[in-house]
Symmetry: C2
Subunit: 200 residues, 2 copies
């Protein structure tokens, strides 16, 4: 069995999508080993517990970033995690953590990277007036929203959209995309050429 660790800060809707994809066989041969949150009140923690998934809360306040990350890493290693999935984790990871799990951390971002990095990407895209936006699953490197792209999904901006409707359609696309990307990485059937992630 491959083992996923999922790190959240909020409602964890992508965590739930991954847990369901594991449960229904869309991501086969895999279990969610732990859900970690830096926010004790994150709504996703209860959703994980309801599914029988172990949770681990480690408040980031009052400790350095690296100390916080070392405690997360210890929990992930204790659980034998093969792949770390960020799912609405609202903190930057320390370079130490990124090295420790090199090419074993995925993030999902609600835009077609490299366009619209950072916060509120759906609104950035809407206000820019693009015809298409979407979402991206990428390997995490030391730059924000920057590592090699594993999978992208395109979402059109419709004539009668507002930011909320657009964001809801992007989120639905994220829930489909993340399990696909996890499958590719867990299968090991890819190679990285420059920045390109190529299925093999």
């Amino acid at each position: 069995m491959k083992r996923l660790g999922i790190i959240i800060s909020g409602r964890g809707s992508n965590m739930v999508a991954l847990a369901e994809a594991v449960a229904n066989g869309t991501v086969p041969g895999t279990e969610v080993a732990v859900v970690i949150s830096n926010i004790p009140t994150a709504g996703g923690l209860e959703l994980a517990r309801e599914r029988g998934i172990p949770t681990f809360v480690h408040d980031h306040r009052g400790v350095s970033r690296e100390e916080h990350d070392r405690q997360m890493a210890e929990e992930l290693q204790r659980r034998g995690v093969d792949l770390v999935c960020l799912a609405g984790y609202m903190r930057l990871l320390s370079p130490w953590f990124i090295s420790e799990f090199e090419n074993r951390i995925l993030n999902i971002h609600p835009s077609l990277l490299p366009a619209f990095t950072g916060l509120d990407a759906q609104r950035q895209a809407f206000e820019y007036g693009v015809g298409y936006t979407g979402c991206t699953v990428h390997l995490v490197d030391r730059q924000l929203d920057h590592g090699p792209i594993v999978r992208q999904s395109v979402v059109p901006v419709l004539a009668d959209d507002d930011v909320e409707r657009l964001a809801a359609r992007i989120l639905a696309a994220e829930h489909r995309l993340y399990p696909e990307a996890v499958n590719l990485i867990l299968s090991g059937r890819y190679r990285i050429e420059g920045r390109r992630v190529l299925a093999t």
Copy 2:
């Protein structure tokens, strides 16, 4: 009849696509009034002449950018041009020219803007490892590849692509997209809200 002026520097394949769209009624009620090139040897000039389209060559060398642009503007105004279409024009336009034809200049760029501005956008996208790129028709403002987006078209990057194959598919998409964008702008059935170009 609405009148287009098309400005090129090279082979002018998007100019030919627009001329054909005008000829076959895809862009109705319109004629190509003039094709302007800053390069006397541009291949597109001969292709325009073969189609009976007036051409105007104005070498940019030895004159200031604004002086060059004033002579282009004079020719465009003499021909009664309603809309200026850049089609592989490899120079920046002066602020004077952009003001003179405010919201009446279109450009086509081979990426999903705002990603991959500037030269060699197809290679930039390929090397970045995106899953999707495409092309964008936008109104020209004073920043490079920046004005309000009129239309975009998505082109997937395929597993066996190289830059040349990808660029060829993007170019084919450009040839379909540019006439659609010209139709919208010539129809006048749009409004600009912030950066968003909305059909009305």
